[in-house]
């Protein structure tokens, strides 16, 4: 693998950039692999990378029906944080956070992980109770997290309307300094390049059309480029997981919904942190390019259309202008949608399935991007060892039958 560095860049400039190597090969599928990862998004590529790097399993294919990182990896608002309420979630996301912190160096690809901090605003008394509960839990779980009052919020984000005049005045926030944003495409490409250099075959434009199952055990996949054998198959297909499960003959407790996002035109630096509000319902950060990157809510219906309904965008911008009245004259450049697979308890599924050797990693809902390194890391361990990693174990499909949900909705109840 060509190593990237400032020095290398100068060298390439002198040769007019004619000697850059491919970042990954375009291989012909083999007949059989030790492990097949279905889905070449961030999570799938990270899984392949860690399988090769940490477990020495390099006879691996990542099968992607379109282009690498073309699903939710390319469509999210890139927020990375780990201040989750429940122990199980917090442990998994914090595991990811620690990997984020050294990721660019590990994969020699600058994913531009910017630890500019994330604010989760509270606008009601119940919001503040929930924030205190979460922050207290975070601290005892070893996650950096603090409660700010309205003045503290105003100091961090002077341009936000923290006055009492707001319809829902800001009462305070939780603040995670280590949280931030990253460059989404680079995460996929960096993992792809890393996995490829360790021998993983990245098969793009290759669509899995079915699973080969023998005596209840997966032995490979059918694809539009022929059958490919494998002892172990990990399915990491986000919004399409329900469709993949159906191919394998079982159902999942998932619904795929449109999740929309939008960006403004590029602006000079104006917002230095990530601001999220569940109550007025919008979140915002500014990309390095200058765009305000704004997240909207999930549309209520099932949808695979990579677009959602316009009122969702309206409500989101109402929330943004409520928090930042000065952005009223800023202009929205582009909106788009991803397909998020949501679980009833707003937590992912990392699990064995009724088919032996077939594992699923899905259900990340709106939390997928931030988990990418952690998800890939523990899923690779699970595939390599044939048993679920201890951080993944609570996220089994079984929980929907025993009732042992990890309800991240929990923090948002109704108030009297």
């Amino acid at each position: 693998m060509q190593r990237y560095s400032g020095f290398g860049l100068v060298k390439h400039a002198l040769s007019h950039h004619e000697n850059w190597q491919r970042q990954w090969r375009n291989p012909t599928p083999k007949k059989e692999y030790d492990v097949i990862i279905v889905g070449g998004g961030g999570h799938g590529l990270a899984t392949a990378y860690y399988l090769a790097k940490e477990h020495g399993i390099t006879n691996v294919a990542v099968i992607e029906k379109g282009w690498l990182g073309g699903g939710n990896t390319a469509r999210n608002t890139t927020i990375v944080r780990s201040n989750y309420l429940w122990d199980e979630s917090a442990a998994l996301y914090e595991h990811a956070m620690k990997l984020w912190e050294g990721l660019s160096q590990d994969i020699n690809y600058n994913v531009m992980f910017s630890q500019r901090g994330v604010l989760n605003l509270g606008h009601t008394l119940q919001d503040m109770r929930d924030i205190q509960r979460r922050v207290n839990a975070n601290r005892l779980n070893g996650i950096d997290s603090e409660v700010l009052d309205a003045r503290g919020v105003q100091e961090l984000v002077p341009i936000m309307d923290c006055s009492k005049n707001a319809r829902y005045p800001v009462m305070g926030a939780s603040w995670q300094p280590r949280a931030g944003v990253a460059r989404h495409d680079a995460v996929a490409w960096g993992y792809a390049r890393g996995a490829d250099s360790l021998g993983v075959d990245l098969l793009q434009n290759t669509e899995v059309t079915g699973f080969k199952i023998l005596d209840g055990r997966v032995v490979g996949v059918h694809t539009n480029r022929g059958d490919i054998g494998a002892k172990t198959v990990g399915c990491v297909t986000a919004g399409n997981s329900g469709v993949m499960a159906k191919m394998a003959g079982f159902q999942l407790p998932l619904e795929s919904h449109p999740l929309q996002a939008l960006v403004s035109e590029p602006l000079k630096p104006v917002l230095d942190t990530v601001v999220m509000s569940n109550h007025v319902h919008g979140y915002i950060s500014q990309s390095d390019k200058g765009d305000l990157v704004i997240g909207a809510g999930i549309d209520g219906y099932n949808g695979y259309g990579q677009r959602g309904s316009y009122p969702t965008v309206e409500h989101t911008l109402q929330a943004i202008v409520e928090m930042f009245p000065m952005f009223s004259r800023v202009r929205m450049n582009r909106q788009w949608g991803g397909i998020v697979d949501t679980c009833p308890d707003a937590c992912p599924i990392l699990s064995r399935t009724p088919v032996k050797g077939l594992y699923f990693n899905c259900g990340w809902g709106t939390g997928g991007f931030k988990a990418t390194p952690g998800s890939g890391h523990v899923f690779a361990w699970s595939l390599a060892k044939g048993q679920m990693h201890k951080l993944a174990a609570p996220f089994s499909i079984d929980r929907f039958r025993t009732g042992a949900l990890i309800d991240e909705h929990g923090a948002a109840g109704v108030a009297h």
Binding site: Y4, H17, W24, N136, L140, P266, V321, V330
Partner: protein, 1016 residues
């Protein structure tokens, strides 16, 4: 032709500007003049302003390239005051007004002498695509510092830092036919649809309707095309089934023919909306259009050719040159070289020459062009160099020459020696790209057509393309196509097709265009002078080449790796060229390479317009009870509960000092415990339930039993979801055997009503029962405290005797002369009466209570006191003490669970799942801090072993915690693992500040455990 001295490039005649009036404006602080009818771009060109900006990545000087929405360079900061700042305005779409102030968005210290420019020149070669991904990685700790500087050098304009002085609004529109674009196709489509009788909306993004006809060389009925445009618009305006929306851009095309139109109502007048007759008007208006049918008449954008240094100011689109001359009376230079792959480009040369300027040469990529326009150029004596193209522009801040050479398109090489022609302007035309952005928004894939060298819209139900939008370019054909589209759309809605008297347009003989995108250079792409594809994002042909070499083979990868098409112009000029270059690098055809999906918006729209009037006080409804005004007058502090404004507490001012919340709440609590208090409880949800099966229904949706509740009695009930988790609680009263009044939590009101309906409508339609919300009909006043009976007795005819009117009874009678239902239920643990009257009379009753309550020191209290009092009694708040993972069993409310009810009520089955049977579930308990002065933090986490290291094993958290004035100590409710079996044990609460509180697990009832006080 002579020219005005102040506007060196303004022609003496021609165009649609009013030369009799002058408008003054400033650009980068310098004063200029223009005329009504100008855009900022045409006025800048008239004044000979070449450099309008610096480029994003390389800081290269940039000038105006286009005349419309596709302009990538002339993106300026507008605004004469801080609050009126608008970032990133396209000068080509900004009408000039007197006093306009604009600045370049990049360039330091200014656009003329930009220091970054030299960095860009040197650094340009060190900044290939993916530059950032390959650098700034060491040391890891430095990234945040690197990023700070990267961010500073990025971005275009700046956000204002003051609130917007303007307002915006929405208009919901419905029509049979929406025609987007008022060029020849759109006008004729609108006429046809209008004559058919359909409701028609015609919108156009430009300052004037007419589209390409506004600067056309063609005649209609032997007269100028604009004459027909004016007549057509007059005709449409006279029809009452037609709505004309000028300055209105269709920016988003959503599902089922929902289209958003952005109407700029005042941006052509000033940077802050002027008042009309003293009244505010919206700066812009967003029309939310539901159209039965859409006619897409959006025309086409011209593609530039991609050659070396094609970004130097003075390089323009050929069509833009014509537009500036014919529409604005501006010739943006003196000596023109035209490089074209088609006949249409020739119009620029002809217009240029007719404007009295010199056409140095036309480089035509075709070997034997012979169309009518070509002949005209020959006849006019213009030098035509066939089989050639401009391969490189010369110059720095303005074009100084063009290198023209014979080219071999198929071999992608320069075939002869280049000739350098002195000129100051290079116009280029690579053909047209239909404007398919809107149809792409719907998710349909565009379709490539080799015959027109462009993508046309894919199929969209209810959408008909017309004219240039699907590759029909000849004017006579466009007009007919428009009529056909208008009729097709109208007929789809059941209207009869109509005939339109179309004007005569002459047909032209054209020679076929040749497919040319990137022009070859003597040097290979990577070594040639920069050939720009996406000017705004500084994406070059070499960048695309490098991306494909690095394995980025999907067009989406190429786009993302190079940032092509991610600018504010969304690649209107560059995307097809970029795709063609990527296709060539990959050895594929363009359709094999694919296209990218365009997303809304077509052109950027201010947040304000999208928000409309849903901001400030109208951001979200404030719901008021019938007593709201009294609360305001009596100084209440309010709490937001859902959309309701509820009094939180009523601070008194004593000796000029306003009470703190703590003081007010302590006073209110003691008033209720020792005297009498009153709460406005009107926000509780109230549902009237009638029908012979009402009782059966209650038994199915509540966990407890309802079979025997007699008329006149009230019962508390718990409601679960079928996963066994508590969703709401409240009391329900039996009004008659077939008649109940259910109350819900304030936040749960709408949800519970829908919950009842969904079960009734989908599962048990056979049950005869009706549910109706009466939340707003009744006002509810809770009079509570030991003195409540005495007070109420003064103004009611109801027998309040404790035997006649028991706890959990309700009675009817008059209170303060108003018919009332009074419920003896208590959320405070004290004697309590909930008085319900029709809301119109609530204020009278409330005031009467206060008139009589003075002697009892009747004390109004708010939600905070309510919370303290109910918590002292161990009464839960759903959503505070529960969180969607709590069962009635977890709350120790076995008394409210009818395990043996005949119907398997909602939530029952789930209680016997393995996880709900666990003995170490988190269970609701009371906590008494060892130190009574301590008020535990709500949300504090609980551990059994405070000595353990982090991460600690947490076993629960505090859900409610207050200081109790009556007990003079802190107390709390909490959930603790296995808590019901841990009474008397000590738990620990490690706090953020390092303190660790100890507390004893106790009963949830802290006050009056036997419940005697409410039974008095």
């Amino acid at each position: 032709m002579s020219q005005s001295s102040s506007q060196p490039n303004r022609l003496a005649q021609g165009g649609r500007v009013d030369r009799t009036r002058k408008l003054t404006f400033t650009f980068n602080g310098k004063r200029y003049t223009g005329h009504p009818g100008d855009t900022l771009a045409s006025a800048l060109l008239a004044n000979g302003v070449d450099v309008v900006n610096r480029s994003f990545k390389y800081s290269r000087p940039r000038g105006i390239v286009a005349a419309g929405a596709e302009e990538p360079n002339a993106v300026v900061q507008l605004g004469s005051s801080e609050a009126a700042q608008v970032p990133n305005v396209r000068a080509t779409q900004q009408a000039l007004y007197d006093g306009l102030e604009a600045r370049s968005t990049n360039g330091w210290p200014n656009v003329q002498r930009d220091l970054m420019g030299s960095v860009g020149k040197l650094g340009g070669s060190f900044m290939p695509p993916g530059f950032y991904y390959k650098t700034f990685m060491a040391p890891a700790s430095m990234w945040m510092t690197y990023e700070k500087y990267i961010r500073k050098s990025a971005g275009l304009g700046r956000s204002p830092v003051e609130s917007d002085p303007d307002i915006y609004d929405h208009m919901n529109q419905h029509c049979d036919v929406l025609v987007i674009g008022a060029g020849p196709a759109g006008l004729s489509a609108a006429l046809a649809a209008a004559y058919s009788g359909a409701r028609v909306i015609l919108c156009d993004e430009q300052e004037a309707m007419g589209g390409s006809l506004l600067d056309s060389r063609e005649t209609l009925d032997g007269d100028t095309a604009t004459r027909w445009v004016d007549a057509a618009i007059d005709e449409l305006a006279s029809l009452d089934n037609v709505t004309l929306l000028a300055r209105t851009t269709a920016n988003g095309y959503h599902d089922h023919n929902f289209v958003t139109l952005h109407e700029r109502r005042t941006e052509h007048l000033a940077d802050v909306a002027p008042r009309v007759d003293g009244r505010r008007q919206s700066r812009s208006r967003l029309h939310r259009v539901r159209a039965a049918q859409v006619v897409l008449a959006t025309g086409a954008h011209e593609r530039p050719l991609v050659y070396g240094n094609n970004d130097v100011p003075g390089n323009l689109l050929a069509g833009a040159v014509s537009t500036y001359i014919r529409r604005y009376g501006v010739a943006p230079g003196q000596k023109l070289v035209l490089s074209t792959s088609n006949d249409h480009g020739y119009r620029a040369a002809l217009d240029w020459q007719e404007a009295g300027r010199e056409v140095v040469a036309i480089a035509d990529a075709r070997d034997n062009p012979d169309g009518e326009l070509v002949e005209q150029a020959r006849a006019a004596g213009i030098r035509i160099i066939t089989g050639s193209a401009v391969i490189e522009a010369k110059g720095d801040k303005r074009v100084s020459g063009a290198r023209v050479a014979q080219i071999d398109i198929d071999g992608f090489r320069v075939a002869g020696k280049a000739e350098e022609l002195a000129c100051d302007t290079i116009a280029s035309s690579g053909g047209y790209s239909p404007v398919i952005h809107l149809s792409s928004h719907t998710g349909t894939r565009p379709v490539w057509r080799d015959d027109i060298l462009g993508f046309v819209p894919g199929d969209v139900t209810g959408m008909t393309p017309a004219g240039g939008a699907h590759g029909v370019y000849a004017l006579d054909a466009v007009l007919e196509d428009g009529v056909a589209a208008g009729n097709r759309a109208a007929e789809a809605g059941g209207f009869p097709a109509a005939s339109v008297n179309l004007p005569r347009a002459s047909a032209h003989r054209e020679s076929p265009a040749v497919a040319l995108y990137q022009v070859p250079h003597e040097k290979p792409t990577l070594r040639a002078p920069k050939q720009f594809v996406d000017l705004q994002n500084d994406v070059t042909a070499a960048g695309i080449d490098v991306a494909t070499r690095e394995g980025f083979e999907s067009i989406e990868h190429v786009k993302r790796y190079t940032a092509m098409g991610f600018g504010t112009d969304q690649g209107k000029l560059g995307n097809i060229n970029g795709m063609a270059i990527a296709a060539r690098c990959l050895g594929q055809t363009i359709p094999e390479t694919g296209t990218t999906v365009f997303r809304p918006n077509y052109t950027p729209v201010t947040f304000g317009a999208i928000v409309g009037r849903h901001c400030r006080e109208l951001f979200d409804p404030e719901r008021y009870t019938a007593l709201h005004e009294w609360h305001v007058e009596h100084g209440a502090e309010f709490e937001d509960v859902g959309q309701w404004k509820r009094p939180w507490y009523f601070p008194r001012t004593v000796n000029g000092k306003k009470e703190s919340m703590h003081e007010a709440v302590a006073r209110e609590c003691l008033a209720v415990r020792q005297g009498v208090g009153i709460l406005d409880a009107s926000t509780l949800g109230k549902i009237d339930i009638q029908g012979p099966d009402a009782r059966e229904f209650l038994g199915r949706v509540y966990t407890n039993k309802w079979a025997k509740l007699a008329p006149g009695r009230v019962r508390y009930g718990l409601m679960c979801k079928d996963d066994g988790m508590l969703m709401d609680d409240g009391t329900t009263s039996c009004l008659g055997d077939n008649h109940f009044l259910m109350t819900t939590t304030t936040g749960g009101a709408a949800g519970v009503l829908e919950w009842l309906e969904i079960w009734h409508q989908t599962e048990w339609p056979e049950l005869e029962v009706y549910f109706n919300s009466v939340t707003d009909h009744w006002a509810t006043m809770t009079v509570t405290g030991p003195e409540a009976r005495k007070l109420l007795a003064e103004i009611t005819d109801i027998d309040l005797d404790k035997e006649a009117f028991k706890f959990m009874d309700w009675k009817e009678g008059n209170v303060a002369g108003v018919p009332a239902r009074v419920f003896r239920i208590s959320f405070t643990g004290e004697l309590a009466y909930e008085i319900n009257v029709q809301a119109n009379y609530a204020m009278h009753v409330w005031k009467t209570l206060f008139a009589h309550g003075e002697k009892y020191d009747l004390t109004p209290y708010g939600t905070e006191t309510m919370h303290v009092l109910r918590a002292e009694k161990g009464l839960i708040i759903v959503g505070q003490d529960t969180d969607g993972s709590v069962t009635p069993e977890d709350l120790n409310m076995y008394w409210a669970i009818g395990y043996d009810k005949p119907f398997p009520w909602i939530g029952k089955r789930a209680l016997s799942r393995p996880d709900t049977r666990r003995v170490d579930r988190k269970q609701l308990v009371g906590l008494r801090p060892h130190d009574p002065k301590v008020v535990l933090e709500e949300g504090a986490q609980i551990v059994f072993d405070p000595e353990q290291s982090i991460p600690m094993t947490m076993v629960g958290h505090v859900t409610s915690s207050y200081y109790s004035p009556i007990l003079d100590s802190g107390f709390a409710l909490a959930v603790v693992k296995g808590g019901h079996h841990r009474m008397g044990e000590t738990v620990y609460l490690p706090m953020v500040d390092g303190k660790v509180h100890a507390a004893e697990i106790v009963s949830t009832v802290f006050y009056d455990p036997k419940g005697e006080r409410q039974h008095v």
